[in-house]
């Protein structure tokens, strides 16, 4: 099948706009069809165990008693696939969920935190030993002597973040309601920064099917400009030898390689993480 035929198939059979279809084929070639087919199905559910409040063994046993079948995700420290679940209670409404024993989260989001490798941050009581992230939250980052600064500009999201921080029993966090582009104005230097950047979400069409028709060239450009500004701000606030993990849920090169490529121009060393596992 040539490129035009794949694009036509994405438009006709899967309902993508010609713009989105062409971009997808440009990135993935004929594999765009497999990606589109996979996106027709709901994402497999997964949870991240909050080891601040419970243990793997205890949670697996408790949820198992309620009809949830959990399978360990081998390439994640605290991730489990939800292989089977009962009609009730829903995964996001069990008592264990309310108690903050787990967080419903996709494996790629969990993987971004593991790539950050917070366990290697030295414990210290100096101002410099801090990190900035955006939500969702990552409980394993919390421990004594380590501070996590979470930055989120939107009121609704920052309120949800606070609820999650409370539910998870995290005690070493400071949440700032501010634009991440202003990070350097804090006058702080961070060991690690996880930039979970806003994006077109072109990689999570299964969750937001209307994106197939909505994503436009203008969106891509706008998001890219914002992503570059956020990444440059994060880089400016990073200590020498520090680590930034840049993460989006987009297939598009403009939101990935082209954005991080800007840091290479400033002397940063880039390490592609590749597929998990």
């Amino acid at each position: 099948m040539n490129k035009e035929q794949v694009v036509a198939r994405l438009v006709e059979s899967y309902g993508y706009s010609p713009f989105f279809a062409e971009k997808l084929v440009g990135e993935l070639g004929e594999e765009a069809l497999s990606a589109a087919e996979a996106s027709e199905k709901p994402l497999k559910k997964a949870i991240r165990i909050n080891t601040l409040k419970t243990t793997h063994r205890e949670l697996v046993q408790r949820l198992g008693g309620k009809g949830f079948q959990l399978i360990r995700i081998p390439w994640l420290r605290n991730g489990y696939w939800v292989q089977a679940e009962p009609d009730t209670p829903p995964l996001g409404a069990t008592h264990e969920y309310l108690f903050g024993y787990y967080f419903v989260q996709s494996p790629p989001s969990m993987y971004a935190v593991e790539a950050l490798d917070p366990s290697r941050v030295k414990q210290s009581s100096t101002w410099q030993q801090v990190r900035a992230v955006r939500p969702p939250i990552y409980p394993s980052l919390w421990r004594t002597g380590v501070l996590l600064v979470a930055v989120e500009p939107k009121r609704g999201k920052v309120a949800a973040l606070r609820s999650n921080v409370s539910r998870m029993g995290c005690t070493n966090t400071v949440i700032l309601q501010m634009d991440g582009r202003s990070l350097p104005s804090l006058g702080m230097v961070f060991d690690r920064v996880l930039l979970d950047a806003p994006c077109t979400s072109s990689g999570v069409v299964s969750r937001h099917p209307t994106l197939k028709l909505r994503v436009s060239a203008k969106d891509v450009t706008e998001q890219q400009n914002l992503q570059i500004a956020l990444l440059e701000a994060a880089y400016s606030a990073l200590k020498v030898g520090g680590v930034i993990v840049y993460s989006t849920c987009s297939y598009f090169r403009e939101e990935g390689e082209e954005v991080v490529g800007r840091l290479a121009d400033r002397g940063a060393s880039l390490t592609p993480l590749g597929p998990a596992g």
């Binding site: 108690f99 030993q129 501070l147 609820s163 539910r167 400071v174």
Partner: protein, 172 residues
Amino acid sequence: MQGNQELRGILRPPNPDELKSVNSALEGCGATLPAGYTLLVHELSYREVYAFSDPMVLRVAEQLSVKRNVYFAGIFAGSFRSGRFRLGLDLAEHLYRLGHLSSIVVVGYEEEQRFLYGRDLEGLTPPENLSPSGTVVVVNGAGDVLGLGRYYERSGRLVNLVDKGWYLRRGH
């Protein structure tokens, strides 16, 4: 009592009256703040109180609050509403887990279900170590914290003050 407009967004140490109110609420449920913990008041349209167990988090939160964009920090200890301090569930649970809180009521599964739906409970046997104010941390048989309540000895009624079902009811 309204928050101080000039200090809006700032994190500051509690004044003596505020500290007295917080300590009184803690005593009211048989709780003590461990040594080394510090409290800060967040000036908003009302006043929130945060507890800090780590001096570094405390220092950074205090310094960042000068820019007035701190939304939350440390452990939620409670808030002043209409001049009265209400103990927060986060600090109560934290102290319970550290063994620094003694006013506890243990409930069965059916009561757990009802309590997590925001309901009051009736006909409970009086808890041990009930504090004079009747404020209790409500836990299930496995020791999971369900919320905060006020127990009335004469009626055996447990009034739901706050429970963990709140997260869902709020939509988060």
